[in-house]
Assembly symmetry: C2
Homo-oligomer: 281 residues x 2
């Protein structure tokens, strides 16, 4: 009898849930709700929001401004200012924990620290954070530290993308601490991320196969997959039930399942059902 275990902590975090709820609620109130980009990094959620009538736009416009929904990853201040000027009604669906990171970064800069953001290059959340300070240095990988900070800095102030890999942040901080006289660090990796990552550091050792449900565009899901794969090569990321392959389970007695913070429950259920169907065949 093959055993299936779903991670205790997986799927929608409260920030994503709140953003999706806000979007659906606004769509009911008005047929002119827009967003600058996708609400979260998951195709199924994007489709649902699109079907509810919320439109994705690429830039703000003074023609018929409606409700502007600011997405879960947070936004640069210029968007708030321009939207206000153009007459949009702003509904801020930024994750409150991300807004806190903006505040920490601003405070560090005001206090004279050179701001370092540990986060993925080009990620919406990281771009958002860096927009809230005048000058920041973004560092994704420990190998990049020397190039990004070629000489000693007096004061470094550090914040971290909410869904970063803790071990990656530790390696970067280790290098930063010997590059400055004074370092101030805010542990801004969010609690859901910590819980998900803690489980994905034990589950792959306790199960023969690990399935990670989530979009390939989702950085936090990708991170779960990477951690899992480093501990158990039989780790597979899937976007939905159809991606699950029969041969993965041929020699498996125990199967662990987790999901990224932007993966909705109905996808997790679909994946579990598909696995059950396969192993009961």
């Amino acid at each position: 009898m093959k055993k299936i275990t779903l991670a205790k902590h997986s799927g929608f975090c409260f920030g994503v849930k709140m953003a999706v709820d806000k979007a659906l609620k606004e769509a009911q109130k008005s047929d002119n709700v827009v967003m600058l980009g996708d609400i979260v990094h998951n195709e199924h959620v994007i489709k649902k929001i699109d079907e509810a009538g919320v439109k994705v736009i690429t830039e703000l416009s003074d023609k018929n401004p409606g409700t502007l929904l600011l997405r879960a990853h947070g936004t640069v201040p210029e968007v708030y200012a321009e939207a206000k000027k153009l007459g949009y009604k702003i509904v801020d669906a930024s994750c409150p924990l991300v807004l806190e990171i903006h505040e920490f970064a601003r405070r560090l800069e005001e206090d004279g620290y050179k701001v370092v953001i540990i986060g993925d290059y080009g990620h919406d959340e990281v771009i958002g954070i860096s927009g809230h300070v005048k000058n920041s240095i973004i560092i994704s990988k420990p190998e990049d530290v020397e190039q990004k900070i070629p000489s000693r800095v007096k004061r470094l102030g550090i914040v971290v993308q909410s869904t970063q890999n803790i071990e990656n942040a530790q390696k970067i901080v280790c290098k930063l601490m010997v590059l400055c006289r004074e370092m101030k660090y805010y542990d801004t990796i969010c609690k859901p991320t910590k819980l998900y990552q803690a489980e994905i550091r034990t589950m792959p050792k306790e199960n023969d196969v690990i399935i990670i449900a989530g979009s390939f565009t989702s950085a936090n899901t990708k991170r779960l997959t990477e951690i899992s794969r480093s501990l158990n090569p039989n780790s597979y990321q899937v976007e939905c039930g159809d991606d699950v392959k029969k041969e993965w389970f041929d020699n498996a007695e125990s199967i662990g399942i987790t999901a990224g913070a932007s993966t909705p429950n109905w996808i997790i259920d679909q994946v579990i059902n598909r696995i059950r169907h396969i192993i009961e065949e």
Copy 2:
């Protein structure tokens, strides 16, 4: 022809040199100069200071108080206060970099941080630093972090013993950064220590044998020996020229020499001469 290389940075650091110079100067001015313990952790220096007439005492006294020389490692505030009350003339030979650590620790506590001192249990400098704050946690080893800080703390403020092993401090900080919301870290490992340690991380790879000159009571010398031995098993610590053994050099073509911050030049010269004598025999 065997090659001998002396480390670019070795022997007396400026803090030790200043303390020794102050002691000898005071001994010329008065025959009632006392210290609470040894001036630095080196028998040869202690002997020289003793011969100059400076006495080591175990406690302050109101009988015939003379000049009290405060040692290089720094002192708790109570000693300053009591010595003043009893009528001593205080000559502070504390390393200025250590006095700076006291100041950082006090500032962290005032600003609401729980103070952590990364340093050797029982070391004079560490005891001195902890005496300057009301409550501190001393951590020597990464393995002790969980026991010393069993649950999450809001704000951790960290200073480091001036002669700590940088890699040890990095491992401890790595663990501390995920145990708090906010961490403030002062890189108080002194420049001489950094220079000595940087060289002892390359020299053992470039030489067949490494000789480290310094007392076995000196924490910073012991640290150089440990680092060297981890990179080259043919690493030997000696207190003086007489400790050097002929058989160490039998198969050696290149010999590297370094010395702790409390090792005087005349001992380094003695060790080099003894090695020269052996290999030229």
